[in-house]
């Protein structure tokens, strides 16, 4: 730094404090403004879903519900089969989480702890899937799933997403952190690789398994395009797809559509609020 700067010493302590206060106020002002922009659309939707009378669109926009009540939510249940949508979302999410945990941790174990020919090639291939333009895969995967007779099935929705590079890397890192002594001792005692994997690795990798569970759960619950392509019969739609059925056929009932939107996001926002640290930590190693 070449410029000579005014020395803070010159300022009195009081002035520094005033500056600090002004800075802090500005800081919170910017934070709050941006938070309003991200949160207000959600708030508006919640307020609208809870209002039971008055105009939907007001000037200036509504801040609090008018005659708050649950009528709109009741109407959602009367209009579409929300219970079935919930059931489908839960089935898809549970199958996805269970499958991802099994497939990714199994694949990660030999990559982390075993020496075998072809290891580097396999590792490179898994890495390569991160670079492939995977967003365009849905076209061919739709063909594959249809030809395998898995169209309009939960299997068809779940299967293509199970083996993810991120999940494999996450588990690989966790397994690499397990102390060598433990594994060597087990091998000396005659434990098979499967036993080492099952009785030593998985229990010690519990934090990574938890992280993978949460991240996969949220992604599975929220996925929209793929299930909307695979599922043909509306009674198999997950909520994320079903909610659009509501907004398409009953778009004039804004409050009911808003209630449907609230019902869709509520469970996953609850999960998020209690597991924030898994998301906001920045997936430590997974990204680097």
């Amino acid at each position: 730094m070449e410029k000579t700067l005014p020395m803070p010493r010159a300022a009195t302590a009081k002035k520094i404090n005033m500056n600090k206060l002004a800075n802090r106020t500005l800081h919170y002002l910017v934070l709050t403004l941006l938070a309003v922009i991200t949160v207000y659309p959600f708030w508006w939707t919640l307020v609208t879903a809870l209002s039971t009378s008055g105009d939907v669109f007001t000037y200036p926009p509504r801040m609090w519900p008018e005659n708050p009540g649950l009528d709109n939510f009741v109407e959602v249940f009367q209009t579409i089969d929300v219970i079935a949508f919930y059931k489908n979302s839960i089935i898809i999410s549970v199958l996805t989480v269970a499958g991802t945990l099994v497939v990714c941790s199994m694949a990660a174990y030999p990559l982390a702890r075993m020496q075998f020919p072809g290891r580097n090639i396999v590792f490179g291939a898994i890495l390569a899937t991160m670079i492939l333009p995977s967003e365009v895969n849905f076209l061919v995967n739709f063909i594959t799933v249809s030809k395998l007779g898995m169209g309009d099935t939960y299997t068809g929705v779940v299967l293509p997403g199970l083996a993810g590079a991120v999940g494999i890397f996450l588990m690989k890192q966790a397994f690499e952190a397990v102390p060598n002594d433990l594994v060597d001792a087990a091998r000396v005692d005659g434990a098979t690789e499967w036993q080492i994997f099952w009785h030593i690795m998985l229990p010690l990798a519990r934090p990574a398994l938890a992280a993978l569970t949460i991240l996969t759960l949220v992604a599975a619950w929220n996925q929209y395009i793929w299930p909307s392509i695979v599922m043909a019969s509306p009674d198999k739609f997950p909520l994320s797809v079903g909610v659009l059925y509501l907004s398409g056929a009953f778009s004039f009932k804004i409050r009911v559509v808003a209630a449907g939107a609230v019902l869709t996001v509520l469970p996953i926002l609850m999960v998020f609020l209690f597991t924030q640290r898994y998301f906001l930590r920045g997936f430590d190693g997974a990204v680097k």
Binding site: T38, F57, P60, P61, P133, V136, T144, L244, V265
Partner: protein, 288 residues
């Protein structure tokens, strides 16, 4: 340790993941590239047509304008990166309530894109909240047709992409910021550097790898964007919000014209690879 048995076991562990990756990550690239040179409708066997699909593609004005829109979509990248970095710097501290702000910015990231579409359709209608706020602030007199005016609909959709991506990149930047050693800042403060100088001379250079990673990620996401379009505008009004991948989606999934759809997505893939290559070629921090 018998190495042949060991090798067999390693491949058994890897089996499920490798099978799935083969079927749903590598197969789409190979088979998809082949189908781009055929006529295929899911029922009859593919018929080789050479470059016909590409000729039709580039003769189709809709595809050309879709391609332009996808390129235009790159405008979201600087906006999203600058805002996300700003957010990360603002929340990278222990101020009271900061956790609340972090969660607030992340909310759209854990919301399914279908609900985001529903919510923003509410915000964007003529008497919706956005027009109401702008009228209230005396910025406009007449409501703006955010999604019904073909000159601005694409930009409205782009804004939603920025809105829902901010939190994601904020977390990535936050992870980067937390790996910057605190004593560098303390030394700079002692030398009299102000916040602005500290940001440009310390934060930005040290975060360059993260900035590069995030820019590439958001560029590829931007040119491949189509979920928002599919939910909010279906390409309209007057086909003004068609993006290249939405074009592929419409031709493939809706019209079962897989040859044309995969030709379009092959063009996109080449475009993406070129973009990623350019980034790493020219934005890589120079090693001395």
């Amino acid at each position: 340790m018998t190495s042949r048995k060991n090798t067999l076991q390693a491949w058994l562990f890897l089996g499920p993941a490798l099978l799935l990756l083969m079927a749903f990550s590598f197969w789409p690239v190979g088979f998809g590239s082949y189908l781009a040179f055929t006529q295929y409708n899911l029922i009859d066997a593919p018929v080789w047509v050479g470059l016909d699909n590409f000729r039709e593609l580039f003769a189709d004005e809709l595809f050309i304008s879709a391609l332009k829109n996808s390129a235009l979509y790159l405008l979201v990248v600087p906006a999203i990166q600058v805002l996300a970095l700003l957010l990360a710097v603002l929340v990278n501290n222990q101020l009271p309530g900061i956790k609340f702000y972090r969660a607030a910015y992340y909310l759209p990231v854990v919301t399914t894109v279908s609900v985001i579409g529903v919510i923003w359709n509410f915000m964007y209608t003529d008497d919706g909240a956005l027009n109401a706020v702008l009228r209230w602030l005396h910025v406009i007199n007449e409501p703006i047709g955010w999604l019904s005016d073909d000159r601005i609909a694409l930009f409205s959709v782009m804004f939603v992409t920025i809105w829902r991506g901010l939190g994601w990149y904020m977390v990535l930047y936050l992870a980067g910021l937390q790996s910057v050693p605190q004593d560098v800042y303390e030394a700079a403060v002692l030398d009299g550097a102000n916040a602005w100088q500290r940001f440009w001379k310390i934060t930005v250079p040290l975060l360059m790898p993260t900035i590069l990673l995030c820019s590439v990620m958001s560029m590829l996401a931007a040119v491949k964007c189509f979920e928002e379009v599919q939910i909010m505008t279906k390409g309209g009004p007057m086909q003004s919000t068609y993006t290249a991948l939405f074009y592929a989606y419409e031709f493939g999934i809706k019209s079962l014209n897989f040859g044309r759809a995969l030709a379009a997505s092959l063009v996109m893939s080449v475009f993406c690879v070129a973009l990623a290559w350019l980034n790493f070629r020219y934005l890589q921090p120079r090693k001395k």
